[in-house]
């Protein structure tokens, strides 16, 4: 038999082997006890000296190549480890050894993500106290005493004899006042934190919850700018294209004021139970900082303008994880927390 012929066929056989068994058969066929190449090598000794030398060289070269090629092909089947199926069997469906890791409250996760997005948009994150004075929570925000506008914020008042009344902040807006008192524009901040409202609790109302307040002040910050920033925020948060709309509203500390709605993420605006058939979800209150607020922090409203907005982090959290009751977030139930 012609060695070249054997070689060609052997190479084809190696290539067409589908698994380790096939390859084993190929090996037996050529290099097994009665293998074709074995036989050639075996017959060498009977050949005349010169031919022996010549054919031997070719045959041995072929054997070397054959071994390398089968070895390479073996790697393709990636099962290079030999094992004893009787003693070394692994049940891959058996549970792994348990490592107990904990879980962070979903609000923490959302708060972090929201802060991160605003940081990427150029805002700095600042914080402020939870017990506030009437001045920072109301007066400096142009919410006068004995004005019906105060009814928009049901307040927990603190029993304490002091010149100024203390309360649990009803929003994180006081942080913008504190910040503007100490820093000169341009300003870009967000102020996340816990806020309090004295109101009956239900699936969407709590006596404490989380807000994030944003503020951007510069020479020419406009409503059009606000639209761009807030739209980008929602797109980054929900990781998809989100429609927004502004509706006129009223807040004593902004003028003009508006509510920010986003197109319902569930029905896309057609109307469903999530959006109470409106097609829109109310997400934030916002507006252009009121001249009286600038005056309260001794900035000249002729020189500066900008927007402020407030977002409920609980609401974002509930939307993101489809949580239907805000009270779950403050219940400390591990069966709930372990899902996050």
């Amino acid at each position: 038999m012609d060695i070249k012929d054997i070689k060609n066929r052997a190479e084809k056989d190696i290539k067409s082997a589908q698994n380790i068994n096939d390859l084993d058969k190929v090996f037996q066929k050529y290099l097994g006890k009665k293998g074709q190449l074995t036989q050639v090598l075996h017959l060498l000794k009977d050949l005349p000296e010169e031919e022996k030398k010549k054919t031997g060289k070719i045959a041995n070269q072929f054997k070397k190549e054959f071994l390398i090629k089968t070895e390479n092909q073996k790697k393709n089947f990636s099962d290079t480890d030999s094992y004893n199926p009787k003693s070394e069997w692994i049940d891959v469906t058996l549970p792994g050894k348990k490592i107990s890791t904990g879980h962070l409250n979903p609000i923490t996760q959302v708060k972090r993500e929201v802060e991160d997005i605003f940081e990427r948009l150029g805002f700095s994150v600042v914080e402020g106290p939870e017990v506030e004075s009437e001045k920072y929570n109301f007066d400096a925000l142009n919410i006068p005493k004995n004005h019906p506008a105060r009814d928009m914020w049901d307040t927990f008042w603190i029993k304490y004899q002091e010149k100024e009344k203390l309360l649990l902040r009803t929003h994180t807006s006081p942080v913008q006042i504190r910040y503007m008192e100490k820093h000169n524009p341009p300003l870009r901040i967000v102020a996340p934190g816990r806020v309090f409202r004295y109101e009956a609790t239900d699936a969407s109302h709590e006596i404490n919850f989380y807000h994030i307040e944003g503020l951007m002040i510069d020479k020419n910050i406009s409503i059009a700018n606000f639209k761009a920033i807030i739209e980008r925020f929602f797109q980054m948060f929900f990781k998809k294209s989100v429609k927004i709309r502004l509706r006129p509203s009223y807040f004593p500390f902004t003028e003009p004021s508006f509510e920010v709605d986003i197109g319902c993420l569930v029905c896309g605006g057609k109307g469903c139970s999530v959006c109470s058939q409106r097609g829109w979800l109310e997400m934030a209150g916002a507006g252009m900082v009121h001249p009286k607020v600038f005056k309260a922090v001794k900035l000249n409203p002729k020189n500066w303008q900008g927007f402020a907005f407030g977002l409920g982090l609980d609401r974002l959290t509930m939307m993101k994880y489809k949580i239907d009751d805000v009270r779950l977030l403050y219940g400390g139930d591990l069966k709930f927390l372990q899902q996050f």
């Binding site: 017990v131 603190i158 006596i207 409503i223 709309r245 003009p256 004021s257 591990l334």
Partner: protein, 678 residues
């Protein structure tokens, strides 16, 4: 606030848009329509009228004006025709005095004689129903009707029951009483403004009428009142008496004093229509300080700058005029007195913006100087802590910032009290996180297998009352209970946590009992320690006291740590410096030492470290043997001592020399016995 579609339609000759379409326009440009529902042959809008628009939009007229602007439809102007009977003169029937014009800005009144009480015509009843009011009789209904039409609260008195033909608007005398229309008794004081005759209080001004002068079936002659009172005064009284009415709600928001006259004429006209009678000639009108309309110069440049879009001057003028504002060539905008909310250019910008439509402002990113947001160190550390605790099996809970009254009273801490606590359950501000975390343990244990480990933590603000005010600080507190969850397990957690924050200088000290330490009742002081870092106490770790566990109905032993974040943050350190590990082999010698039971590991380590040898690379406790239970006076501790040099392989003699020094140092203490060496 409820508005009737049919009623709104009555202001227009042309057909209005369909209710749904109108609702959408109102939501986008004026006020949110919270609900639109069918009511017989009418539609009812529930509008969220913002408090700044009370003066004009707590009325159908106001909403009709908005509809007119939004749909470009003209409102029908109807003249009010009051047919007075010249043979009667109001001066002959009543005189009115206002004690203080700061309390009562304007007081307008008319008299109608010979009316007939009956039920109202159907259209009035239907419209009142649509707006959520119960019809009573034609006079009361007419007053309510005009209030809903124009926004002006009105009141009708039975003229015959007013004694002395005199009305005085004055502050109540302390202790003066009134029985109101709904048959409730109020004791008044000097803070309350009242309408009175020469003998009695007829009404709580702007809030509620009195029964003594109520309209009833026998009423023939009436005095009708249309007034404007000081909003703050009305609000304070309404709050104090806990009496909120449609009238008080309007007055406390501030009404237009110039509306009273139109309203009283309109009411007289309507009463004559529905109850007959003669309108007496003339009217009472006490209005010493007339409110005049004001002008604002429109700043086009600022308008464009704030909106972020250029709207043509023509369009701006059209919008402002359609809103009923006067506009002249110089762009001085004349504000009618029914728009007290318009005081400055920004207010005009809002009007222009909302009517033009915010949806027509194209989103546009600000063109500003690049200014990277600065990272907040505190928040970075907070998240680092949370991540570390999460990684070692702790779940994060959020609890309320309030604690139960009973627990608070028991805890004997300087607690922060609320003027208006939510309930006994949420009574004081939390002085620590432990109390509510224990509540979480109690709650969760029910759902867990027996002795299953629970690890929870919370990061949050706690509050304390001090001489210098209310102090708040951020705390980090973790609790563990169940299988394997003991002091040492938690200490390992705290060690790992501090390590992750770059705090290496830390140790645990016996709990110091101090008189001002209100924490004491929470900890079993024999099984607790102070956590110290950089020589400062930053918190506590240990077993919670059985007292507090009992009080919170917790049967299981609970181990806790509590760290003051404000202190911790000062010593957190993100800096790290690489040090090359020695390439030369280390040698280990083991040592075993028998010491009295109460000797601390730290004492032994200190003694070993007192041999100042930098070739001792580490000392590692690997075994503790405390003997059998009967003979618990001594214990045996075994340590690996690891020797290593940076620059060479140590030889046996060197190691032996140091090792002997260590043994000697340990044996300096007579009670200690080094037992074994290898």
């Amino acid at each position: 606030m409820l508005f009737s579609y049919n009623w709104l339609q009555s202001f227009f000759d042309k057909k209005l848009l369909a209710p749904q379409k109108l609702a959408e326009l109102l939501t986008l440009h004026s006020f949110e329509v919270e609900e639109l529902k069918k009511n017989h042959n009418d539609w009812v809008f529930d509008l969220d009228i913002t408090p700044n628009r009370a003066a004009d939009c707590f009325s159908h007229l106001g909403i009709a004006r908005e509809c007119s602007v939004l749909t470009n439809t003209k409102i029908r102007e109807e003249e009010i025709k009051v047919k007075e009977n010249k043979s009667f003169d109001i001066k002959d029937y009543i005189s009115v005095g206002v004690k203080n014009s700061k309390d009562c800005y304007r007081y307008t009144g008319r008299i109608i004689k010979g009316i007939k009480i009956k039920s109202s015509p159907r259209y009035i009843k239907e419209r009142l129903f649509s707006c959520g009011l119960e019809p009573i009789n034609n006079i009361v209904d007419a007053a309510n009707y005009i209030m809903l039409e124009l926004g002006q609260p009105l009141h009708a008195f039975d003229l015959d029951k007013i004694e002395g033909s005199k009305i005085l608007i004055r502050r109540a005398k302390n202790g003066e009483k009134i029985n109101t229309l709904d048959d409730k008794n109020y004791r008044l004081n000097n803070d309350v403004l009242v309408i009175s005759d020469i003998k009695k209080v007829l009404a709580i001004a702007g809030i509620k009428g009195g029964k003594s002068v109520a309209i009833n079936d026998g009423t023939k002659d009436i005095f009708i009142e249309s007034a404007n009172f000081n909003p703050t005064l009305i609000r304070k009284t309404s709050k104090k008496l806990n009496l909120k009415t449609d009238a008080s709600f309007r007055f406390e928001h501030g009404m237009d004093s110039n509306l009273t006259e139109k309203a009283i004429d309109r009411l007289a006209e309507l009463i004559q229509e529905v109850a007959g009678g003669d309108i007496v000639k003339g009217k009472i009108d006490i209005y010493p300080n007339k409110i005049l309309s004001k002008s604002i110069k429109l700043d086009l440049r600022q308008t464009e700058k704030l909106l972020g879009v250029k709207i043509s001057k023509n369009e701006i003028v059209r919008i402002l005029k359609s809103l009923g504002l006067g506009v002249n060539k110089k762009l001085e905008i004349k504000i009618p007195t029914w728009r007290p909310d318009l005081n400055q250019n920004e207010d005009l910008i809002e009007e222009i913006g909302r009517i033009y439509g915010y949806e027509n402002l194209k989103a546009d990113f600000p063109k500003i100087t690049l200014m990277p947001g600065s990272k907040n160190e505190e928040i970075i550390w907070e998240y680092k802590i949370k991540d570390t605790l999460r990684a070692v099996g702790f779940s994060e809970v959020y609890n309320y910032s309030f604690i139960n009254k009973k627990i608070g009273d028991y805890s004997n801490s300087p607690l922060v009290e609320l003027e208006n606590p939510f309930s006994e359950e949420f009574y004081y501000l939390r002085p620590n996180l432990i109390i509510n975390l224990l509540g979480n343990i109690k709650h969760n244990i029910k759902y867990f297998k027996k002795d299953e480990a629970i690890r929870i933590f919370e990061f949050g603000t706690v509050f304390k009352k001090t001489k210098n005010g209310i102090k708040e600080k951020k705390m980090l507190t973790g609790l563990i209970t169940g299988n394997g969850q003991d002091f040492y397990a938690l200490k390992g957690v705290v060690d790992a946590l501090l390590e992750s924050l770059g705090i290496s200088d830390k140790f645990y000290d016996n709990f110091q009992i101090s008189s001002e330490n209100s924490q004491q009742i929470f900890w079993n002081i024999h099984k607790s320690a102070e956590i110290k870092a950089n020589n400062m106490e930053i918190g506590f770790i240990g077993q919670l006291s059985s007292d507090i566990l009992l009080k919170l109905e917790n049967k299981k032993s609970v181990i806790a740590f509590e760290i003051d974040f404000n202190k911790l943050i000062k010593i957190c350190n993100g800096e790290k410096e690489y040090q090359a590990a020695s390439k030369f082999p280390s040698a280990i010698r083991d040592i075993s030492i028998l010491v009295p039971m109460r000797v601390k590991v730290a004492d032994i380590l200190n003694q070993i470290n007192s041999v100042k040898e930098n070739l001792v690379q580490d000392v590692d406790l690997f075994d503790i043997y405390e003997g059998d239970k009967k003979d618990r006076e001594k214990k045996s501790l075994a340590f690996h001592i690891i020797f290593q040099a940076k620059n060479r392989t140590l030889n046996g003699d060197e190691i032996e020399f140091i090792f002997q020094k260590i043994i000697k140092a340990l044996e300096e203490n007579a009670d200690w016995e080094v037992r074994k060496q290898s």
